[in-house]
């Protein structure tokens, strides 16, 4: 049982991981078909993973409703939204769940356009206001480094909108240079570091050194 619970997952991760690496270097059609087949499987498993995410979100809110925790009514609202949308999804503008999706009409599309779109689009736009308030109250040049940051931000903010070009031609040019030279250099440095980190983490997963993705501690 311990083999199934612990060793088998590690063997699977090692095997598919190694295959994933090797097929990159092997142009032989056998290796390429293997890569295609594995990614095809992965796409299907990924669908279940996404569904699992939704299930666990719903379970979390269900728990709050059941235990009537503070603010459970809001969790109930999540269910209301989910259920209504879910029914429309099954209805599929009259075609039912076993026909291709109708993506250009029907109550499902209406809900998307008039509930999901305004809510999602508005959410992050709220930050515009908080940024203004933070600009006044908290974006401080506490250190020389923060001062460089703010100056660079101001140049870029003026240079990227038409008004910068009206003030002086050199502002958009300077802003473009900042983006394409010092910014590029720093981003590339970060990218190289992060890439080495990704390779290291991936290796730890393949060799079974990193197991946190399996959850449930070390057993």
């Amino acid at each position: 049982m311990l083999f199934l619970r612990r060793t088998l997952p590690l063997i699977i991760a090692f095997a598919v991981g190694l295959i994933g690496i090797l097929v990159f270097y092997i142009p032989h059609s056998g290796a390429q078909s293997l890569e295609y087949e594995l990614t095809k499987w992965d796409r299907i498993v990924a669908a279940f993973a996404l569904a699992l995410g939704i299930y666990s979100l719903m379970r979390l809110h269900w728990g709050r409703v059941r235990r009537q925790q503070a603010g459970w009514a809001y969790s109930f609202l999540v269910f209301v939204g989910f259920t209504v949308m879910f029914i429309f999804a099954i209805y599929n503008d009259g075609h039912g769940p076993f026909n291709p999706q109708v993506a250009d009409s029907g109550p499902f599309v209406w809900m998307f356009n008039n509930v999901q779109v305004p809510a999602d689009a508005t959410m992050f736009s709220i930050l515009a206001f908080f940024i203004a308030s933070a600009a006044y109250r908290t974006f401080r040049a506490r250190t020389p480094e923060a001062a460089i940051l703010l100056v660079s931000a101001i140049i870029v903010m003026i240079g990227r909108v038409p008004i910068g070009g009206l003030i002086s031609d050199s502002i958009p040019e300077l802003s473009q240079w900042l983006m394409a030279v010092p910014n590029l250099a720093a981003k590339r440095g970060i990218l190289l570091g992060v890439s080495l980190g990704i390779v290291a983490t991936s290796l730890r997963i393949i060799f079974g050194i990193e197991r946190s993705y399996l959850g449930g501690g070390e057993e």
Binding site: F24, Y25, P27, M123, L127, S133, T138, R140, L192
Partner: protein, 402 residues
């Protein structure tokens, strides 16, 4: 005399034919692929006026004597345009190549027939002059087959293997002995901030990022939390830990409890000090903001992966005059922390702090291995640029993705 002239014309004509006929024609399997493809190479003609106007076609037949059938390929290129296959030699500027993967059988309607593996094909290159004359080359033969190694990826393979070995060996070494990691300024700032909360007799607030327990950022945040809890237990300062994920909350409770136990003050730990705030992003930020304004913590610590709520948290924290220490690997949110916090652990520094604090061999070894990788990249880049400036591109070519 007439005979003589005639001879000269003939000689000239043959010379002309030779000059126009594609020379040095070779056909072979296209390397680094799964077969079904033949690469044909031939010499770029000796330069003369109008040389660019020569058009080439390639014909393929299944027997040496034909019939030959037309093929479709995109324009013949100089070999130097594909250094991954042909390298960087001088000769790559004097050779043309084209790749053929099918030919057209002139049945009605015409049928396209793919090149098969393991079958011998006979190939001619035909040069078409602007005048309308055509000159076929000698016939050559080739066979396509499947390759087992993509040679253009050799550098990738070697670098990947070496770097993997370095990482694995470093992790192995880290289990045997202590590896040196420089002190991390952010951790000293952290101690200072905790000290200030003690002086003021006010609570310390620790806010987790939004990602779940499996992510590197959250693991790192929990490692930092354990250090914070150790200190607050020692200093007898109130610690509050805000969560938005039930699993992270459970783990945080364990960690804080253990730290208080280790400090010999299990009585000071209360389960309620590690609590769930809200699950949704903005609700979490709003509720935490409210809490900050009410409780006025002296020190705010924000660790983990943050999204847009970073600004709401850090702004409120700064407005109540708290000392703020942040750490995140979310580069888009870093600027907001840098301008609103007193100290920020930037990107990888968060992982480094986590490795430094936890002393876990897999983290320390990995960090060390990556350091070696970075050092190697540094040296390569400096040396490569130096050599390139002196006109030697070898190192640049070795480190090119083909």
């Amino acid at each position: 005399m007439r005979y003589f002239l005639c001879c000269i014309t003939l000689v000239l004509y043959t010379a002309q034919v030779h000059a126009q006929q594609p020379t040095g024609v070779k056909a072979e399997d296209t390397p680094n692929d799964s077969g079904g493809n033949i690469t044909v190479t031939w010499d770029y003609p000796k330069p003369y006026e109008g040389v660019e106007q020569i058009k080439y076609t390639i014909v393929v037949g299944e027997s040496e004597n034909g019939p030959f059938h037309g093929t479709k390929f995109s324009a013949a290129n100089l070999q130097s345009s594909d250094p991954g296959t042909f390298g960087y030699g001088e000769e790559t500027f004097q050779k043309l190549f084209a790749r053929v993967d099918e030919y057209t059988d002139p049945t009605d309607p015409p049928k396209r027939i793919a090149i098969e593996n393991g079958k011998t094909y006979y190939v001619q290159v035909i040069a078409h002059l602007p005048s309308g004359e055509s000159f076929p080359s000698a016939t050559v033969s080739a066979e396509a087959y499947e390759n087992f190694f993509n040679r253009t990826k050799t550098n990738n393979f070697v670098i990947g293997t070496i770097f993997s070995l370095i990482i694995l060996i470093s992790i192995f070494l880290a289990q045997k002995r202590e590896l040196f990691i420089r002190r991390i300024a952010g951790l000293e700032a952290l101690d200072e901030a905790l000290g200030r909360a003690t002086e003021m007799g006010k609570p310390v607030l620790f806010a987790h990022g939004l990602t779940s327990m499996g992510t590197v950022s959250t693991i790192a945040a929990v490692n930092v939390l354990s250090r914070v809890a150790n200190r607050t237990a020692e200093f007898n300062t109130e610690l509050r830990v805000a969560n938005n994920d039930p699993v992270v909350m459970a783990v945080s409770q364990e960690v804080v409890k253990e730290s208080y136990l280790n400090a010999g003050r299990p009585d000071a730990y209360s389960e309620d000090s590690v609590f769930m705030v809200a699950t949704e992003q903005f609700s979490y930020a709003a509720a935490l903001d409210g809490m900050m304004v009410r409780d006025r913590p002296a020190t705010n610590i924000m660790m983990g992966y943050f999204f847009a709520e970073s600004l709401l948290l850090a702004e409120t924290g700064a407005s109540i005059g708290a000392i703020q220490i942040a750490g995140t690997d979310s580069y888009t949110q870093l600027p907001f922390f840098i301008t609103t916090c007193d100290y920020t652990l930037m990107g990888e520094e968060l992982y480094a702090a986590s490795a430094y604090l936890s002393r876990e061999p897999k983290l320390l070894g990995s960090l060390k291995g990556q350091d070696i990788g970075k050092a190697a990249l540094l040296i390569v880049m400096i040396l490569g640029t130096l050599l390139a400036t002196l006109g030697i591109q070898t190192l640049t070519h070795i480190f090119t993705a083909y």
